[in-house]
Amino acid sequence: MSYTIEVRIELKKGVIDAEGETVKKSLNLLGYRIKDVNTVRIYAIKVEAGSENDAVEEINEACKRLLANPVIQNYSVTVK
């Protein structure tokens, strides 16, 4: 079976978001009253697996191995 899983990766609190900071500054310069910008990355992954559980487990493992760094990022996995 094939499942679509979304991995959402965010920076932990206290970690500077260089891109977010820059976007905020630029939007301010364009005249918007923006107080804060956080960037989030999403990977929408189509995976082949025996069951939904297997699929989620597999993607969780992939996150740990490749997609996210637990030192600075939080990630969550949802089935779509």
């Binding site: 260089a18 891109e19 820059t22 976007v23 500054k25 630029s26 310069l29 364009l30 005249g31």
Partner: protein, 269 residues
Amino acid sequence: MPDVCVLLIEGTNCEEETRRAFESVGLEAELVHLKQLTGDCKRGRRKNLFDYRVLMLPGGWSAGDYVRAGAIFAARIKSRLREDIKEFVESGNLVGGICNGFQILTEMGLLPAFDGMSEAPVACLTNNLSSSFQCRPTYIKHVGSCLFTGGIEKDRVMQIPVAHAEGRFTFGERDRELLRDLTDNKQIVFRYCMENGDEAGGVFPWNPNGSLYDIAGICNPEGNVLGMMPHPERVIDVIQESDWTRNPGRDYGDGRMLFESVAEYLKKI
């Protein structure tokens, strides 16, 4: 008054070599921060765009190239100087963009500018097919002429390096249709090719980014705005080329031709 305004903001970083390239062909070029044109600085530092004849957007990572390469610089210019820039272009002055500069011109709607400067971008320089930054020499062919390249022969193959992560030219869903317009208007100036001038055919590494129709540089229909991904300012002298130890005996690098063309054009008018 200097001829060339080399415009920068934080993160622009090819301004020095761009200035040097213009100076090596006898033009006077000046580094100008966007603030100096918008007036957000001390009086003594302010500059006027209309004092120059060429506006040059150099390479680099303006504002970190966050969001999309060149997008922030473009939005900032547009929000403060849109009318000035429009007038500057329409009165026939030259506007050039190299690498990040090309991305900025495209995001600003100054290229391809089928019917003058567009409100929203019509094309995009998006991430390389390899999805990685590529710093490497490439060959490009001069397939059409504009005011920046009047002195370069037709079909001349030039060795010019690229260094970018987002250089794949595309019109998105309208690739086919708008490519035809681009060709009909003779707006394609440079295409990636093989050493002997044969088509790169989209194939890496000859085409380093997967660009539509091997497009490396385009101009507006009037020919006074040019954007290109490769960096001619990095190969003014032969020793800056990638394989010069194999071909001794020349002094100049291929990039100089472009700056010479500009100098000649400015002399004429």
